[in-house]
Homo-oligomer: 296 residues x 2
C-alpha cells in the first residue's frame, strides 16, 4: 500500500478510536453490561474504512478534524450495530467477528440485541449534537442522510434481501442491488459526509456520493474475491465461507475473472469521478487502488 | 373517561395512524417483507398515548397539527421497535402482542429484528426531515432528545436492567429507576416534544418534562396493578403474568394498597405541575386521572 495512504488510514483509525472511547465511557449502573457490550463491539478493531472516508472527505473542505472524527465515530457505531445484529443466531449465526467471539457469544443474545439497538441510537445522537457542527442545518442533513442510507430502503433492506434470498439463485443484477443496499449505501454516506460537514455545493457532494457508490461496489466484489480465492491464513478469517453457504455473490455468478474485471472497472470509474478535485482527492483515489488490490 | 378526553385521544390516534400509513408505504422490491413487518407492528393498534402527549403538548403552543402528527408518528415508531425487540425469544419471548401474533411469530425472527431496527432508523429520519419543522435547530433538538430518551442511558438501559435482574430481588428504589428508564423516559420525551416544536421557553419544556416523568411512573404502577388485580377478560390480556414470571414490580414490593397510593400521589403531582398553563393543559391533566383509573 502507498505509504502516505497507510499513514492516513492509521491516523484516521487512531482519531476515530479516541472519539469512540470518549463517546462511550464505561458505566457503573445496573445497565453497565449493555454499555460494556457496546464498547466491546465498537472499539478496538476493523479497518475503519468508513471513518477514513468521512475524515478524508471532510479534510478536502477544511472541516475541523474533531468534528469529522465525531461523524466518523457515528458511522462506525452504525456499522458496529449492523455487525452485531448480522451475527445473531437468527441472522448469520456467526460466533466469531474479527477473530474474537461475536457480541452475543461474549455477552448474551439479549444484551447483543440491545447493544446494537443503542449503538444505532447513539450514532444519531452524536450527529444531532451541537459539538458535531455549529450549523443545525448540516446536522439535520447528516441525520437524514445516515437514516436513509441505513434504513429499510438502505442497509436493513439489503440485509432482509440477503435473508429471504438464502438458497435462491440471484441474477447479477439482483446481487448488485443487494450489495448496493447492504454495504454500498453506508459507504456512500461516509464518502458524502465530508461534503455535508463542509457545506459544499450539491454538485461536489454528488461527485463524492458517486465515488462512494462505485467504491462500495468494488469493495464488495474484492471482499468476495478474497473469500473465494484466498486461504484462511492470508485473509485472517475462514475462506470459502460464501460458497459453502451457497451465498449469492457476483464472483459465484460471473466467475473470478469477470468479477475481477468488474471490480477494476468500478475502481477506475470511482477514481475518475474525483478528477475535478485535483490533488486534494489524492488519498481517496489511492484508496480505490488499495481496496481492489488488498490481500486481506 | 371524560368525553372530551376520549374524543381527543381518538382524534390523535386517527391522525397519527394516518401519518404512519403515509410514512410507511407498502413496498415492492425484494425487501418488501421487512417493510410489511414494520407496517404490521407500527399500524393499527395501541392506545397511542405517546402520540397523544406529543399532539396535545404541541397544540398548547399553536404548532401545526401535521407537524405534530409526524413527531407523534416518530415516537410511535420508536415505541413499536422497542416492543418488537422486547418480544423476541432472547428477550421476553412473547408470542402475542395486542391480541395478535408478535412480529417474529407473524414473520420470522430475522425479519422482526430488522423491522425493529428500521423502525428506529425511520423515527430519526422523520424527526430530521424538513417537513417536520421549518427550523433545523428544533429538528436537531428532537433527534437529540429522542436519542437520549431511548438509548443506553434511557429505554435500552432500562430493558438491560430488566434482563439482568431476572430472578433477583430489587428494592423499590431500583424498580423505580428501572421503570423510569424503560418506559418513563420515552413518555417524558413525548410530553416535552410539543414544547420543542413550539420553541417554548426552557422553563415550560421543563414543566412538561416533569409532568411526563410523573405520568410515566404512575402509568407503570397502574399497569402493574391491572396485571396483579385484573382478570384476563377485564384487561384484554393474560393477567398475573408479572407474578408468575417473578417480575420485579412496585406492586410486588409495596403491596397493592401502597402501590395504589403511590400512583395516586404521582398523578396528583403530575397534574399540579401543569397548573401554570391553565385551561390549555386541561386535557393533559384529565389524562393523568384516566391513566390511574383505567380498567385496561
Amino acid at each position: 500500500m502507498d505509504a502516505t495512504l497507510a499513514a492516513a488510514l492509521k491516523r484516521a483509525a487512531t482519531d476515530v478510536e479516541a472519539a469512540l472511547n470518549d463517546l462511550l465511557p464505561a458505566a457503573d449502573g445496573a445497565e453497565a453490561r449493555v454499555i460494556q457490550a457496546m464498547r466491546y463491539s465498537a472499539l478496538g478493531g476493523g479497518k475503519r474504512l468508513r471513518a477514513f472516508l468521512v475524515m478524508e472527505g471532510a479534510s478536502m473542505f477544511g472541516v475541523d478534524r474533531r468534528c469529522a472524527a465525531r461523524v466518523g465515530a457515528a458511522v462506525e457505531m452504525l456499522h458496529a450495530y449492523s455487525l452485531i445484529h448480522d451475527d445473531l443466531p437468527a441472522m448469520d449465526n456467526d460466533d466469531l467477528r474479527r477473530g474474537k467471539p461475536s457480541c452475543h457469544k461474549a455477552f448474551d443474545e439479549a444484551t447483543a440485541i440491545l447493544a446494537g439497538d443503542a449503538l444505532q441510537t447513539q450514532a444519531f445522537e452524536v450527529l444531532a449534537a451541537p459539538d458535531t457542527h455549529s450549523n443545525s442545518e448540516a446536522r439535520c442533513e447528516l441525520v437524514l442522510a445516515l437514516a436513509l442510507a441505513s434504513g429499510a430502503h438502505g442497509m436493513v433492506g439489503g440485509q432482509e434481501i440477503d435473508m429471504v434470498s438464502e438458497g435462491k439463485t440471484l441474477t447479477a443484477e439482483q446481487i448488485t442491488r443487494l450489495n448496493a443496499l447492504k454495504t454500498g449505501r453506508l459507504i456512500q454516506f461516509s464518502a458524502e459526509a465530508g461534503a455535508i460537514l463542509g457545506r459544499a455545493p450539491t454538485s461536489q457532494r454528488a461527485l463524492l456520493g458517486a465515488y462512494g457508490r462505485d467504491l462500495g461496489a468494488a469493495f464488495q466484489i474484492a471482499d468476495d474475491l478474497l473469500d473465494a480465492t484466498g486461504t484462511d491464513a492470508e485473509i485472517g478469517k475462514t475462506a470459502g465461507k460464501d460458497a459453502a453457504a451457497g451465498k449469492a455473490t457476483l464472483v459465484a455468478v460471473l466467475g473470478v475473472e469477470r468479477a475481477r474485471a468488474q471490480a477494476a472497472a468500478l475502481a477506475h470509474q470511482a477514481a475518475a469521478t474525483l478528477e475535478s478535485f485535483g490533488a486534494k482527492a489524492g488519498l481517496l483515489r489511492a484508496l480505490v487502488e488499495y481496496v481492489v488490490t488488498r490481500k486481506k
